[in-house]
Structures are given as structure tokens and as C-alpha cells.
């Protein structure tokens, strides 16, 4: 589904990704872990098409297409969804109107008829239940004045509405208390259907207690330095990142 080869990216003059290789197959959940500043969020941003980053080398193919060649909205229409670490407040645009526009733009791109008001409302009701998000919240301006938990829940709700084939969760657990974390994670798990894949970017193990990954990768200094299964996450939780840093730094000084 997604193949990342030797991906290099920088912001201004600073190189952040220094040769990422990753293969994601349908239905898989990959966790990307690593210490602060290792490039985890950059990877998610580059995949979603954030303009601040410049890709200097490597390639990314998604469903056989050159992803890096597409504008962010086209990536979304192809099936990529980024759940933001810091969802943006957009005054004056209600979540409902926003999603209706988004959904119908994606449908248009894929040669489908737009949903009419009734179909849209039906889907909205269904998906709102899935992530336990209040109807009243959806009628308000997008994320404006929402609590941290409400914002993250809204991200998952949007993902449920847009039905991407690949969900990128960028530090979705940050700023959440344990109850909010569980609700958000349950929402994600409901969307796991054996075909949809996820990349879960996180600093901590706790989200992975709920969203159990198939693979765990450790990012450090812009490269994947270790890959394993969910046990690797537990090991990191117990031992921290220093042992990995030491291993890598030792190799570099040789």
C-alpha cells in the first residue's frame, strides 16, 4: 500500500529525515516511536504534504502512485488522513459544513456523486456514535473553544467520516487524560477493518496499550534504527530510549 524508500527531508537548512525505509501493507498498524526531535512528526507531515518540508531525496509510493508529486488535498482524496497533533481552530466554519465540503471534494476526485443532505446526515450520526462525539459540538465552529480531548476526538471522527485507507495519527495521545485516551483509541480500533492501515506516531507506550500495533519502529536522528513487534514498545517503556541512543551513537563514532 505504502512504500517509503530512502526518504530525506529538511526544513529550511536542517535535515530531519535522513533515509527512511518503510513498507506498509493493507490492514497493518505500525507504531513510530522515538525520543523528542527524532523526526517522528516530520515523517507524518511529509506524508500528508505539509509545505514547510522539502524532500531532498528518496520516494514514496501509495497505491502505486508517486505520493510526493501530489498536492495535500489530492493525497487526502487518494486515501491518506493525518490526525493532527495540534488540530487547528477555524472560526466561522462548522465541523458539519467543513466535512461535507471535504467529503464531497474527495468523492468528486474519485468520480463519485456527492452525498445529498440526508445521506450525509445519516453517515454523520453513525460515525458520531462511533467516537462518542456530541452532535452539538459538530454544529459549532471547527475546533473553536474545544477542549484538548474534544479536538482529538473530532480528528478521529473526521477520519471515520472520510474513510481513508491509511490513517496517520500524530501524537494523538498528547494532552489527553486516561478516559479521553481510551475513547479516542476505541474509535480508532472500530476503524480497523483488516484493510485500513495506520501509522501511529507516539512518544509513549500508553496509547499502544489500546491500539495494539503489528510493528514498532524506533526513529532516531532521522532514521529507523530498530524495528520489532509490540514487545519492543514495552521494552522502550521499561528502559527508555537511552540504550538505543547509545547503541546508535557508538556506531556513529566508530
Amino acid at each position: 500500500m505504502l512504500t517509503i524508500s530512502n526518504l530525506h527531508a529538511r526544513i529550511e537548512e536542517k535535515e530531519i529525515l535522513r533515509g527512511i525505509n518503510l513498507e506498509i501493507k493493507p490492514g497493518e498498524v505500525h507504531a513510530i516511536m522515538g525520543p523528542n526531535g527524532s523526526g517522528k512528526s516530520t515523517l507524518a507531515s511529509v506524508l500528508a504534504g505539509r509545505e514547510d518540508y522539502e524532500v531532498t531525496d528518496g520516494s514514496v509510493t501509495f497505491h502505486g502512485k508517486d505520493l510526493l508529486d501530489l498536492a495535500p488535498e489530492k493525497r487526502a482524496a487518494e486515501g491518506i488522513f493525518l490526525a493532527f497533533q495540534y488540530p487547528v481552530e477555524i472560526p466561522g466554519v462548522t465541523t458539519i459544513n467543513f466535512l461535507k465540503t471535504a467529503l464531497n471534494e474527495i468523492r468528486k476526485y474519485n468520480g463519485q456523486e456527492p452525498l445529498d443532505a440526508a445521506q450525509f446526515l445519516k453517515r454523520m450520526k453513525e460515525k458520531a456514535k462511533l467516537v462518542k462525539i456530541d452532535d452539538a459540538l459538530l454544529k459549532r465552529s471547527l475546533n473553536e473553544g474545544f477542549s484538548g480531548g474534544e479536538k482529538k476526538r473530532n480528528e478521529i471522527f473526521q477520519m471515520a467520516m472520510l474513510e481513508p485507507s491509511l490513517g496517520l495519527l500524530d501524537e494523538t495521545d498528547s494532552g489527553l487524560d486516561i478516559d479521553a485516551l481510551r475513547i479516542v483509541a476505541e474509535g480508532v480500533n472500530q476503524l480497523r477493518d483488516g484493510k485500513r492501515s495506520f501509522v501511529v506516531v507516539t512518544h509513549y507506550q500508553r496509547l499502544l496499550d489500546y491500539i495494539v500495533p503489528d510493528f514498532v519502529h524506533v526513529l532516531y536522528k532521522g532514521r529507523i534504527v530498530k524495528s520489532g513487534t509490540k514487545e519492543l514498545a514495552l521494552e522502550l517503556e521499561e528502559k527508555g530510549y537511552d540504550w538505543i541512543k547509545n547503541e546508535v551513537d557508538a556506531l556513529e563514532t566508530v
Binding site: 500528508a48 504534504g49 505539509r50 509545505e51 498536492a71 495535500p72 488535498e73 493525497r75 487526502a76 482524496a77 488522513f81 493525518l82 493532527f84 488540530p87 487547528v88 481552530e89 477555524i90 472560526p91 466561522g92 466554519v93 467543513f98 466535512l99 465540503t101 471535504a102 467529503l103 471534494e105 474527495i106 476526485y109 465552529s141 473526521q158 472520510l162
Partner: protein, 443 residues
């Protein structure tokens, strides 16, 4: 009028002075009437003041030098008719709809829906010629014809417009919509409409002025509206401008509010080459509320200048002001908001906010809040912001599948909504929404 000295004047000023002199000659002995005395005084003031230059503090950012170089026909005959009107529809217009073509009332196109015991509507020209006593007590008593050159000019030379009188204790359900059309299909046309709106005690009314241009030549509209809001009356007042790039619009709306009254204004400037709106509100009683909203969306080289004055003269009143601008291309905008809180006006709450989005590096916005407060127990605040759309918000929308152009459009529309939703005459609000959409679509 011997004191008016025409020999140094040139261009537009000379034309206007000559125009005044010829109108005086036709008064047939009525020149002694107070109304005409006042017009004479106003003309002398204009002659003394002349057109303002950018050295004038109030005109620092709005340069009328291109206007005063041109000449305009102020007495053009137009055959503008229903068929022409059908080409510039303003759909779903109901209520009292009055048409002014080149500033002159057109009875054939107009309709009056409200019964006369509630609402009197008299063309200004008729009031001036036949019932000067009707307007004597109000005309020129509020708008400043002493130091404001354009108001002086209008006071001296306005030949039509409308006098609207709402009786006491009446709720006028049907809106009053004044449509001013400059027909410049064959020549440069000038018009100076004068409106006098008198709203009786405890009465309620909604009024809109809508301006537009038809044709390719230049238009000069110099308009003055005086609104008297009597005790406990409620007035909604909207001004909508959709004029051509070759038009000059200078307009003053002068509002006088008495105790317990409520005045609510929204000024929406969708198009116009050069626009200057003065909205001056005097709160001369206790427990008055005034709310002023503005929206301007200039593009190309359009210039929109809003000057507001809110004058708190008595205690326990409240005023709110919100002006919003979207400036595109090489357009320029000005917002100058004065708030006076007089010594008597304790317990005043006065708030002012002006927010702008510029979508191009070449667009400019000049904002200047001016608060003069002589009372000590008041709550006043003001704020202005001018910035660009948030890139992160645009990316957020793109990441959900919304193309960049559409994301920008949606956010600008949302930005304008705060003001647009204030407009309570459906047909006028829908018209404004449509014009904004069209304008953002073209961007």
C-alpha cells in the same frame, strides 16, 4: 450669494458653484425661506473649504484629486426603465422599495407597501418645493455642513432623495429599501441624494440603502442621510455598495439618538473605485444602544475608507463597533474610528474592533482608532488587527481533501460571516452573500 467668488475655482468646483447659482435663479422669491437660507450658507462653506486634500487630517489616506479634476453631469435625463432594472435584479425584494436614478426619485419603478398612517414617504424634491416646513426642523440640523466640504456641497445642492417619517408607536414590518442607481451609460454622471429619516417614539423600522452603477462612464455620488431616532425607537440601517471601478462614492450617515433608543447599522462595501463612508452617531440620552458593523471586500485598485464617530453625550449608554475587511490585489482600505465619551457620559460602555485580512502583498490597510474620554467611570476598548490567513488552517483543510483555493475561499467567507449575519433583511443579506461569493470566486 455675492460672497461666492468663482473666479479662482476650476474643474468640478467651478461646475458646482455655477450649478448652485443657476438653481438660485430659479427659486422665484423662495430664497428667503429658512431651508434655502441654509443651502446658501452651506454653499458659502463649501466655497471656503474647497475639496479636501490629503493634508487634511480626515483625508490623509483618501485622495480625491482624481475626482475633482473630472466633470460630471448633475442634471442628466435618463430613460432608465423597468427593462434596464430587470438586468440588475436584487431578488426577493419586498416591502417599500424606492428607486432613485441618478439621484432622482422614480415613482414608476417604486412601490410603497406600508399604510400611510404608519409611514410617510415623500421625495425630497417635493418636500423642498412644496412642504419645506416638513423638513425645516431637521434638515441640516444634524449633518455637519460647516466643516465637512462634501456634506456642505450636498446640503447646498441636493435636489432629490427621500423623506421618511415613521409615526410614533408604530412597527413598520415591511423594510424600506432605497436603491440608488447611477446610470452612466452615456456620460459622466453626478448625483447628490439627500435623505431624511425620522423615526417616531417607540417605533421600529428597518431601512437599507443600496447603491450601484450601470454603464461604463464615471459616477460621482455624494450622499447624505440624516436619521433621527426618537425615544425608545429601534432602527436597523444597512448600506450596501456595489458600484463600478470608475465610481466615486462619498457618503455621510448622520444619526441622532434619543433616550432608550436602539440603532443598528451594517455597511457592506462590495465594489466601488473610491468609497468614503462617514457614519456618525450621537447618543444624546440615557440607556441608548448603538451597534455598528462594517464589511469591505475591495480588489483590483479599489479604495474603501470608513470613518465612524460615536459620540457618547449622556450616561449609561452602550456602543459596539465591528468592522472587517478582506483586501485583495492592490486595493487599499482605511478605518478611522472615533469614540467621544463626554464628561456627562458616566457608565459608558464603548467597544470598537477592526479586523482585516490581506490576501496580497500589495494591498494596504490603514487603521486608526481614536478615543477621547472625559468621563472617569467608563469601560472602553478598541482593537485592530491586520494579517494574512493562517497557513496552518489552510493546510488543515487541504489535508481533508479541500483544494487550497476552496480552503481560502471558505475561510474568507467565514471571516465575513460575523458581519453578514447581522443583516436582518433577507433579500439584502442574500444579495451581499452572492456578491461576496462572486468576488472571492474571481480572486
Amino acid at each position: 450669494m455675492s460672497s461666492i467668488d468663482n473666479k479662482d475655482a476650476s474643474g468640478l468646483k467651478a461646475e458646482l458653484i455655477a450649478d448652485f447659482q443657476s438653481s438660485q435663479a430659479k427659486l422665484n422669491g423662495k430664497s428667503a425661506l429658512p431651508v434655502h437660507q441654509l443651502r446658501g450658507e452651506a454653499m458659502q462653506n463649501f466655497d471656503k473649504l474647497g475639496f479636501p486634500t490629503t493634508r487634511h487630517e480626515e483625508w490623509k489616506y483618501s485622495n480625491v484629486s482624481n475626482l475633482v479634476k473630472q466633470t460630471f453631469d448633475f442634471h442628466t435625463k435618463t430613460d432608465f426603465n423597468q427593462a434596464d432594472l430587470d438586468k440588475i435584479p436584487l431578488p426577493h425584494l419586498t416591502g417599500n422599495v424606492l428607486y432613485f436614478i441618478n439621484g432622482v426619485y422614480n415613482a414608476e419603478l417604486s412601490q410603497i407597501a406600508t399604510a400611510e398612517n404608519k409611514l410617510k414617504v415623500i421625495p425630497f424634491a417635493d418636500a423642498l418645493a412644496q412642504q419645506p416646513e416638513l423638513i425645516e426642523g431637521y434638515f441640516g440640523k444634524y449633518a455637519n455642513y460647516e466643516t465637512d466640504a462634501f456634506t456642505a456641497l450636498n446640503t447646498a445642492l441636493a435636489n432629490d432623495g427621500v423623506v421618511v417619517q415613521v409615526a410614533d408607536n408604530k412597527i413598520v414590518e415591511e423594510p424600506i429599501i432605497l436603491r440608488f442607481i447611477s446610470d452612466v451609460r452615456s456620460a459622466n454622471v453626478g448625483s447628490q441624494p439627500r435623505n431624511l429619516i425620522i423615526v417616531g417614539k417607540n417605533s421600529q423600522v428597518k431601512i437599507a440603502e443600496a447603491y450601484r452603477t450601470v454603464g461604463e462612464e464615471a459616477a460621482f455620488v455624494n450622499t447624505v442621510t440624516e436619521i433621527i431616532v426618537d425615544e425608545s425607537a429601534m432602527v436597523d440601517y444597512y448600506k450596501v455598495q456595489n458600484e463600478s471601478d470608475k465610481s466615486y462614492h462619498i457618503g455621510t450617515t448622520q444619526v441622532y439618538q434619543k433616550g432608550n433608543s436602539y440603532f443598528y447599522a451594517a455597511t457592506a462595501t462590495l465594489n466601488g473605485g473610491f468609497v468614503r463612508n462617514n457614519l456618525n452617531v450621537v447618543l444624546d440620552g440615557e440607556h441608548i444602544e448603538s451597534r455598528l458593523f462594517g464589511l469591505y471586500v475591495p480588489n483590483g485598485k479599489q479604495h474603501v475608507d470608513n470613518h465612524t464617530v460615536v459620540d457618547h453625550r449622556k450616561p449609561n449608554c452602550e456602543s459596539h463597533e465591528l468592522y472587517k475587511g478582506i483586501l485583495m490585489d492592490k486595493s487599499t482600505g482605511v478605518f478611522n474610528g472615533k469614540i467621544f465619551v463626554r464628561e456627562d457620559a458616566q457608565k459608558t460602555n464603548a467597544y470598537q474592533n477592526c479586523r482585516n485580512v490581506v490576501t496580497s502583498d500589495e494591498a494596504t490597510m490603514n487603521t486608526k482608532p481614536q478615543l477621547e474620554i472625559w468621563a472617569d467611570d467608563v469601560k472602553c476598548s478598541h482593537g485592530t488587527t491586520t494579517g494574512q490567513l493562517n497557513d496552518e488552517a489552510i493546510f488543515y483543510m487541504q489535508s481533508r481533501g479541500i483544494p487550497k483555493k476552496e480552503a481560502i475561499r471558505l475561510q474568507l467567507l467565514a471571516f465575513a460571516q460575523d458581519v453578514v449575519t447581522q443583516i436582518k433583511i433577507d433579500s439584502i443579506r442574500e444579495y451581499i452573500e452572492e456578491l461576496i461569493l462572486a468576488k472571492l470566486e474571481a480572486a
